[in-house]
Symmetry: C2
Subunit: 698 residues, 2 copies
Amino acid sequence: MKNLSKMFKPESVAVIGASNTPGKVGYIIVDNLINDGFEGKIYPVNPKGGEILGKQAYASIKDIPEKVDLAIITIPSVFVNETVKDCGEVGVENMVVITAGFKEVGEEGAKLEAELTALGEKYGINIIGPNSLGITDSHTPLNGSFSQMMPPKGNIAFISQSGAMMVAIIDWSVTSGIGFSKVISLGNKAGVNEIELLQYLADDDETNVIICYLESISDDEDFIRTMRETAVKKPIIILKSGSSSAGAEAASSHTGALAGSDLAFDTAFGQSGIMRVETMAELFDLGLAFSKAPLPQGKNVAIITNAGGGGVLTVDAMEKAGLDLVKFDEETTAKLKQCIPDEGSANNPIDVLGDAPVDRYKESLDIVLHDERVDSLIVMVCPTASADPDGIAQAILDGRRDSKKPIIVVNMGGPSFEDANNLLRDNHIPTYVFPETAVHALSAMTKFAKLEERKYDDVVEKITDVDKDTVKAIFDKVTADGRDTLLGSEAYAVAEAYGISAAPIKLSTSADEAAQLAEEMEFPVVLKIASDKILHKSDIGGVKVGIATPDEAKEAYDEIIANAKKAHPDIVPDGVEVQKMMETGQEVIVGMIKDKQFGPMIAFGMGGIYVNLIEDVSFKLAKGLSSQEIDEQIEATKVSELLKGYRGEAACDIEEVKEAIKRVARLTLDFPEISELDINPIFVYEEGSSALDIKIKL
Amino acid sequence: MKNLSKMFKPESVAVIGASNTPGKVGYIIVDNLINDGFEGKIYPVNPKGGEILGKQAYASIKDIPEKVDLAIITIPSVFVNETVKDCGEVGVENMVVITAGFKEVGEEGAKLEAELTALGEKYGINIIGPNSLGITDSHTPLNGSFSQMMPPKGNIAFISQSGAMMVAIIDWSVTSGIGFSKVISLGNKAGVNEIELLQYLADDDETNVIICYLESISDDEDFIRTMRETAVKKPIIILKSGSSSAGAEAASSHTGALAGSDLAFDTAFGQSGIMRVETMAELFDLGLAFSKAPLPQGKNVAIITNAGGGGVLTVDAMEKAGLDLVKFDEETTAKLKQCIPDEGSANNPIDVLGDAPVDRYKESLDIVLHDERVDSLIVMVCPTASADPDGIAQAILDGRRDSKKPIIVVNMGGPSFEDANNLLRDNHIPTYVFPETAVHALSAMTKFAKLEERKYDDVVEKITDVDKDTVKAIFDKVTADGRDTLLGSEAYAVAEAYGISAAPIKLSTSADEAAQLAEEMEFPVVLKIASDKILHKSDIGGVKVGIATPDEAKEAYDEIIANAKKAHPDIVPDGVEVQKMMETGQEVIVGMIKDKQFGPMIAFGMGGIYVNLIEDVSFKLAKGLSSQEIDEQIEATKVSELLKGYRGEAACDIEEVKEAIKRVARLTLDFPEISELDINPIFVYEEGSSALDIKIKL
């Protein structure tokens, strides 16, 4: 893990390309460092030397009399790499390259950038950028950016892959009342990437939550495992653009980074515990909640409102978000009845009525927070004629006492609540205008609090009874034959080598052999022409089902070969495949989609010929897959209801399904050369299962 | 349709219950009328007479020397009805009852309210309320409410069923920059309801868009047809609370109104052209767009942005919302290339770059608005170091010239854009902070613009070849027998009477008759014990399939009767039903759910035993159902792909499906006594169809 503490807490900063001309980047950065209160040493570097903004300027980094902790580079791109060398030679360990004109401008720039990366590695320099807007740390304080405004102080770390979006978000933070610990403009990620930053920030005491705007995710062999460890320490919320196909296209033309499959991103984020949001607004809404409130212990929510309608909207939103409206215990209800008039409601949601005086809020708050069933509280205030927003805000703080339960306040309105919102937010209570937003934020907090209960058992890696050599030999033969698709008998052999239950398929090259194989696997069997070149096997008489005796098998063999010869005189078939006919069971599919970035992604769902229409499929990445995740994957489908025994039907052997998922995961991890794999259907029985049709493409 | 013009534009207003005591409702209302600029006559009414807030007070409405256009009532509930009589006698035609203590407080209050309704009808008084916060009209101007603040002037009409939510929304409007034509607090809806208000407001020249917060929808025999006419005139946006089951429960305890099924609300809103939103925020976001911008002619959107990332987010959101990223014609692209640097993008989304001067926005805006392919435009501004928010806002106005295409601006940030937002909104350009909101609003506008293309052909009412008498006779017999469920043979007869293709089922009461019926309908047939009391017919040997000859039929009859007698010696079966065995076809379901408020709702979808698991079902209300809606209903399901011939399979007879939907709609409209109806499966063939299992319950 990179040590970035001197990046954000340097004792000295050199600005290479510092300038005396107002408006120039090299001027703004020195100015920002000084004006936004950086207390360490500032060394402007400019070949002309002299004085810049009252500080002595040096002609070169090499001329500075002490070792510099952080260099910020703003000189033209063609001079950057030379300067990086200089920095490396004098022991600079952290660097922000503001200069643009690298990968984002084409081939020439990409070459420069590759050099920059190499230099960083050679000298052990942590490089943020190039094409970065800079970094800020409001606790140091350090404004090492050319943002016009120092972001307000707080405990949200913000990583942005777009400079323009970064300034937009800093600007909006003033309106939305959030504050930042660090703001980091990633730029082209030639050195330090977002994964390394997330790891660093997860251990940063000044940061409670990390929000990110990202256009691509950096390659990391072990993304899921790395992020699992990180995301459980601090909430990580990512807005990843390019979720639509048109958007991904626009993104790739914009950043030059080839966007991976959005489904894979979703799956990777989900499996690693990262929260993905869909809109800019959510990024803030969730950031605000995590930065202010303690985490809830469970999903039981109490609501106090002075408007019945608002309570109903809150309950509507809670049901969608999976939060529960807690039923109070008798003691709580009895106490509430004493402080709430009959026209109101002492049940959840508690309606303190539109004319509620400040004390009624305070008392009911105090009562419900003491109910052990209550995990969190949403308090809603409408600015009715008799409502006193400031008084109610104070009452909430008073009523809370030392409770560690999160309280989220919905102050429904604008100007009436300005002071109240400030007071509450300053005291660890997030406030929102609308109930739906509050519920969304609370739901995210509840989910994050559950993250640490997740168990990772590396169940796929622990499988030992697989026969790699056999599979390797089969793949080699297929490749040697100039094919990319396995025959059914080959695919069966692969399944067998990896312990995936399948209906036996064997290749025969004579009528006698066909009969013998059929006898070995027990009748009835199917005979099928074996050739990857003959596509519509049934149409040409290349398939015979229900073969029940050795004689029938022999006859069928000869007929099939004859039919094939007639239809395709130019094709020499590999023989005839004999497959045992199986009883039908519940049909499921287990397949694999290969993602460029995250590797094999396992699909599970309802099988059969309408898989693509029904779309009852759920996905998990193979790498790091856990037993718990496999359970979730099965549970996420409708076919799981059928497997469990739908409406009194007998239950199927779900263990077999899990086994199939695990072993397909293992197979596709062991053999990255597999480009496509589909087992559809697998018949699942009350006991056991049988893969019927296995397609493997290299 | 009620004439409410004097309600909102009265020449004289009486405040009954006016008071000299500050803080009392009767004081606030007189004060609001005066201070918020009402120019007509104000008559305070108070038994003590004298002077109130400088106006002569009258002891009774009867003492006022002229006919009063609007009476606002604030006296205690027990005196209200007496006063309404007085008002009626002196010809008052419009009234707002602020007084609470009616239906919402229980039985006694409900009685008072029923009297109030009756008096309103007797005297022809339009009554808003009781339990209303009042009404405002910012154009009159009239503040006939006890809201602390007169809502800002604008062209959004707002109807709220909750007083507290109303004041919250007025408060928020200041922050969100929207203005209102009228604000109406519905109260208990004892007189004028929201449907009548919507009809009135749809013709109101001062109103461009109507937004509503509703907890219930008033009963209206012909809700869909009424609303279709209304919703096409003005955009109607409704936030209906109680969408969740827990929320509906909370709502009913809150308002005393029994909430209907949320699915039925959704369906009714969809079929009538009302836009339903899920959150308070959307209510504002959409209201803002409709109140400011002209409607787009199509769904082709152009984007101009100074941040590539923002463009990508916009494209992501557009794909979800069904909007298209237009491809510019060659002329446009050529022109754009002249004004945009190479590092930017002259393709859609247009990237004018972070350093874009004001003119680059203006020119590109002018160019794309002249491209005939472009229907609407989203302009995005990030507050980069070189961005000039105010200048860009002015440039947008200049570049727009006289274009009638909607322009939506995303000013990403807070304080930097305050003036720019005001300037743009004042000039018919809605502005948002985030791209996703802008896209959502534009998508709603695009859909609304398409509403007038909808065709309603009353296709269900036009069916004439149905035999009501036969069905009536069957239902009478069932009822006379003390049953509520039809036998299969009865249900078949009902289907036959309504022209629904079904596999014949006839009841036999002897072995000979069974054989004869079977011969008439052609073999093979199924024989089944006929009794609504025997539930598991197969288990007791009450079903025989594949009967192929008359002799087999006779034998089967006797066996079935014997088996039934053995299993249930106490039950006298109705006989044995003979059903023709049909070839299997594509399985669909057509069913009916009876909604308390909106009547029969027709379900269509994938049939078979897993209907409830697969949930591939779409719904339409029977009343007013059109051919276009039936097409939409079928199209909304996955089974429609199978019907159209999935992946080269033969297409099924979709006309038969439409016919079944129409005729089931007609049947359930003609016979409201049908409480449940399910036809599952219907086999649909390449030609024709056959309903296999018809369940009808009265």
